[in-house]
């Protein structure tokens, strides 16, 4: 574990610099963008220059956007299956002090003024309760933020701030019932072991409405794809809020509080807000509404072509299978369609195995490149309540909810 003191000392030592004059010309620099990365040209120029493939302990090389706090996205090739491997699952932190939690001494405190009693659970206690499993997409609210024009400040994510795993854990509802929920309770507040370095920095504390906490699918997960949670994905336990964006899925969970007034910390307001009326909103978080905005909640319907990268070559006169994944906030997918004529006509793709309404679902369609040259291929998902993807980004101050139809250009050769 990095203590605050050792951290500050390490940081202080970085204030020594190497002067420029005695050094070699720039041409021999190991440029960041020479790490074999092919990033979307829509991303900011600086992002494309600084991003590198880098491995965190226990992880495969991922696209490093920032080292500290660590923000690493999953490369496209890991989205060719509906389940994202743990070691390739994206990493997102707001705070730099991330302790290695000891499972033997870890405790989860459940209580708050809206609870009738308090409880303290060890990992053994949690694992001794009835277990539930669910396959669900964990997607950062700001996934694809880097593709907005004009650019929006923040972590400049491309397509990979998301993943889908089989989560195993305890229903939050069971824990809430254990302590008893008072009728005046409005929200459930989560805190994790990751902390700021400075006392004045707001701790990462998130809340969800009581109704969401009581849904059968909201879990406290201690397993991911049959393994303990990786450290960088929240060991030993995190909240799973299927259908909602990853901001609520608090990692390294230490505290659950039932509260009778809405949580007002920075990470609930003004952070993670969308303007009212801009996006379709089925699931409301009304205790947090202001006249101007509301918390981001559900993941919007979306899809991604993953079998081929933008600019990939395919053979003329042959039929190539193009494939990808689609997902939504839990209403279930009605269809994925594809277009090879810039969106003029759309045909229905073949859907892969259904792992549940919160999961990635694979799709595929045939592509026949009859004439040589560049050809655009697009995919578009629609869910069962009729929501579909947009043709242009809906610009918003924090760069959330980018679900523009994914389009790639193939080189028919």
């Amino acid at each position: 574990m990095i203590t605050r003191r050792s951290f500050l000392e390490a940081a202080r030592s970085t204030a020594t610099f190497v002067g420029g004059s005695l050094l070699l010309p720039r041409g021999t620099e190991a440029a960041a963008n020479q790490s074999g990365l092919k990033l979307s040209p829509l991303l900011p120029e600086g992002t494309r220059a600084e991003a590198v493939l880098d491995s965190l302990p226990g992880k495969k090389p991922l696209i490093k956007l920032t080292y500290r706090p660590p923000n690493y996205e999953t490369p496209l090739e890991y989205f060719r299956t509906a389940i994202t491997p743990n070691e390739a699952f994206f990493v997102r932190y707001h705070l730099p002090n991330i302790p290695e939690v000891d499972a033997k001494t870890w405790k989860l405190v459940v209580g708050g003024e809206g609870a009738n009693s308090q409880a303290e659970l060890t990992l053994d206690d949690l694992q001794g309760m009835p277990a539930e499993e669910i396959v669900a997409v964990n997607q950062c609210s700001g996934n694809r933020r880097g593709l907005f024009r004009p650019h929006v400040p923040g972590v400049q994510w491309g397509y990979g701030a998301m993943g889908c795993a089989r989560w195993k854990g305890v229903r939050l509802k069971d824990l809430l019932e254990k302590v008893g929920v008072k009728k005046e309770a409005v929200e459930i507040v989560f805190d994790g072991a990751d902390k700021p370095l400075l006392d004045k920095t707001p701790d990462f504390i998130k809340s969800i409405p009581i109704w969401k906490g009581l849904e059968e699918t909201t879990l406290i997960a201690y397993e991911m794809n049959g393994q303990p949670l990786p450290h960088y994905n929240g060991f030993p336990a995190r909240i799973i809020v299927p259908g909602w964006t990853a901001t609520y899925w608090v990692k390294h969970l230490t505290s659950i509080k039932i509260v009778t007034s809405s949580e007002r910390g920075f990470w609930m307001s003004p952070a993670y807000r969308i303007p009212l009326g801009l996006f379709p909103l089925a699931a409301r978080f009304s205790s947090q509404d202001t006249p101007a905005n509301t918390p981001i909640t559900e993941i919007l319907v979306n899809s991604l072509i993953t079998s081929h990268t933008d600019g990939a070559s395919v053979k003329a006169g042959a039929t190539t299978s193009i494939a990808g994944i689609a997902w939504d906030g839990g209403y279930g997918l009605r269809a994925v369609e594809f277009s090879t004529d810039d969106g003029k006509t759309w045909l229905t793709a073949t859907m892969g195995v259904d792992l549940g309404r919160f999961a990635f679902r694979t799709f595929s369609f045939p592509f026949s490149g009859n004439s040589k040259g560049k050809q655009t291929v697009m995919a578009r998902a629609t869910n069962r309540i009729g929501q579909t993807q947009t043709t242009e980004p809906i610009h918003n101050p924090a760069g959330y909810h980018h679900n523009v139809i994914h389009s790639i250009t193939l080189n028919v050769v």
Partner: protein, 93 residues
């Protein structure tokens, strides 16, 4: 040391930090040390290049203000101005 110097080249300077963190190249200009020491104690400095060069002067001011007012960065007014100026000149639009 020589290998390190060779890696840190030209018009750039380098701020190494924690073990897993690779050196971040920074544009060498007045107040770069002040910027790196103040900002780099809480977060890696790749945040800056990642958010460039699209932020304009007002947006860089807003980012520096946010770090002080919201996140509690202990930076006085004079240093805040120097840091914002460094960011605007070297990473601004």
């Amino acid at each position: 040391m020589r290998a390190f110097l060779i890696a840190c080249l030209g018009a750039m300077i380098v701020a190494p930090a924690l073990a897993e963190e690779k050196p971040i190249e920074l544009k060498k200009a007045p107040d770069v040390e002040k910027f790196a020491a103040s900002c780099g104690s809480c977060h890696s400095l790749d945040y800056i290049e990642m958010n460039s060069p699209f932020l304009n002067a007002a947006q860089w001011d807003a980012e520096v203000n946010k770090m002080i007012r919201v996140f509690g960065a202990p930076i006085d007014e004079a240093d805040a101005k120097a840091i914002a100026d460094y960011l605007k000149k070297n990473y601004g639009s």
